[in-house]
């Protein structure tokens, strides 16, 4: 990312908040708790680029996806698409522009519909083209994702995992959207198939100018395909930077631990994983201080009382940590 004024973002999320009411606390007695699944998240996705959202279970990335897709309504904050708040946009129009690719290629395809019907559905719903043209569009869609035309007659259970995911992608791009939310699109696929699907997504981005909001826990993959990276922990963004800047110089202790924990496929680079003990523990909404401090190797007193805000360490590289200046590169 250069210092020049960037173009207007395609998707802009500002201070998004979503709370869930939990009826029971696990270990801490029965008091009903309000859990902030998404706790003040801001991010931007630019046209034709990929923003990766990285985090582990409980970080809020799935909730974030649902909020951006308007499956759920936020409690506070603002989501704008192409400059317009999406709440002001008719749902119909929004769904033509923003689509989703799911993690489970089998579960996300209606089992009793044939592939042709599945791909045709968004065209029918949005009346994208006259009915006479739909068959042709379906065939084009299949070709665009590298499937042969005879796949249109098959049912999902007759296809392999990779083929199913391609169908999911074909369905998602049928209305020529500008933004695709990809929720762990290759995690459920065999390792030897993953790179095929990744290449497909890269090609589609290149040829159609698609923007991706790419949710993944696989940092190696994220490093390869993203332009910007956003790391989430317990509902908050803890680091936000260009992919280049992030992987060259990760600053937040959690981000560093994530990178260190990702097993590198090189046996000569074995070492102790970053001292990251404990588990993610949801906290009550009235707790102060940094939510990561319980597991942080660098926690100081200030971390218990002051919740660190996201601030720029270097232009374009934001970190939410009091001690971000001290974490040396490497």
């Amino acid at each position: 990312m250069t210092d020049a004024t960037p173009p207007a973002p395609l998707l802009e999320v500002t201070d998004l908040v979503k709370h869930y009411r939990m009826r029971r606390g696990a270990l801490s007695g029965g008091k009903p708790r309000v859990v902030p699944a998404v706790d003040g998240v801001s991010l931007r996705v630019y046209a034709g680029q990929t923003l990766a959202v990285v985090g582990e279970s409980g970080c809020g990335k799935s909730t974030l996806a649902k909020l951006v897709m308007r499956i759920e309504q936020p409690d506070a904050g603002d989501i704008r698409f192409g400059g317009t708040p999406i709440a002001d946009m008719p749902t119909h129009q929004f769904r033509q522009q923003v689509q989703m690719v799911f993690q489970d290629p089998f579960g996300s395809l209606t089992p009793h519909l044939r592939v042709g019907a599945l791909i045709r559905e968004p065209l029918v719903i949005h009346k994208t083209c006259p009915v006479a043209e739909m068959e042709q569009r379906v065939m084009q869609g299949l070709a665009a994702v590298g499937l042969s035309p005879d796949i249109a007659m098959r049912f999902p259970h007759e296809l392999s995992g990779g083929q199913r995911q391609r169908v999911g992608i074909a369905r998602g791009i049928a209305t020529q959207p500008h933004l695709l939310i990809c929720d762990e699109p290759v995690s459920a696929l065999d390792v030897s198939i993953r790179s095929q699907i990744i290449n497909l997504l890269l090609d589609l981005q290149h040829s159609r100018g698609l923007a991706y909001l790419f949710i993944s826990h696989d940092l190696g993959l994220v490093n390869h395909i993203s332009d910007q990276v956003c790391v989430m922990y317990l509902g908050k963004v803890v680091e936000y930077a260009s992919a280049q800047s992030f992987f060259a110089d990760p600053r937040h202790p959690y981000a560093r631990a994530l990178i260190a924990s990702s097993p590198v496929p090189d046996p000569r680079r074995r070492g102790r994983p970053a001292a990251m003990t404990g588990e993610i523990a949801a906290r009550a909404s009235d707790e102060r201080g940094c939510s990561f401090r319980g597991r942080c190797p660098m926690a100081i007193d200030r971390c218990a009382s002051d919740d660190p805000a996201l601030r720029a360490i270097v232009p374009g590289h934001l970190v939410a940590c009091h001690r971000a200046e001290e974490t040396a590169p490497g």
């Binding site: 582990e56 279970s57 198939i193 095929q196 097993p263 074995r270 994983p273």
Partner: protein, 354 residues
Amino acid sequence: MTPGLQTSPADAAAAPQGKPVLEVRGLEVTFPAGGHRLKIVDGIDLTIHPGTVLGLVGESGSGKSMLARAVLGMVPYPGKVTAGTIAFEGRDLRGMAASQLQQLRGDRIAIVPQEPMTSLNPSFRIGNQLTEVLRVHRPRMNRSARIAQAVKMMELVGISYARDRLHQFPHELSGGLRQRVMIAMALLCDNVQLLIADEPTTALDVTIQAQILELFLRLQQSSRMAILLITHDLGVVAQTAHNVAVMYAGALVETAAVEPLFDQPLHPYTRGLIASLPRPGTIARKAHLPTIPGAVPRPSAVRVGCAFRDRCTFALDNPCATVRPVLEPAGPGRWVRCHRWRDIAAMTLVGPHR
């Protein structure tokens, strides 16, 4: 390299100490289907020495989980072990009576299964399930001794508040904790010679995975336990295993010590797998990743030629399409099942790229 952790795989691999813990020869597991029998495991040879980790790499359809079950004598009906031998500490497991096998399971051979979410009985407390293992295998232990042992193991695997957790139910624990409980259960009798871990960290977060893998290595160092680590994740294998065996469509296609395998993979499948991993530095950001075309084949009763040839860039019509390659020695401690491995070795340099 930080001290305290055995990080050099060469130590263990180069000088196998003593007799192997597990020796599998020619193992076949078949399932009936419409008149034929499908080979899910198609002639596997494996050797694991004490104090080493063997990483068994395979994707869905490779037969790796069925192999684990076969070793434990737990192939589900209507599948059957139809050929081969399985020797544990020199004793033949296939010929063993069911009761004897049962004695070994949980005591000297333990398994950490894939799904910690569903492997624990949701109706019983953790403490109950842990002590049950001891009740079966250590009948002379009294109640307080059992509880003490359970707590000791839980603490060993890094479960905090172990005494309190005894009274908890599985659903009250997170995935990582449940998996630790499964590991504690596997090690409870303090006598495990062979630990079979079937995708033990696939369902877990990456930071928890790192902790669990570190735990395995730590336990192994102190007790010289052998581990059969089944996974599809080459990263996990690179970080944890001393030796690697790669499975494809029910058969072994390559075995080697971990460093030689990653330095110079010989089988096209292994090469393809390693090459398809995003590796910053070797491939430009957002460039195409190398792929293995096609998909994993479904099990079949009859196979002509090499099972991988449809997806192989090195495949030739003759002999790859007609003659099934056999596992050949390809160097010290290395075996490859490929007609063209010599060509591949010659045309590649040290360092994995195509």
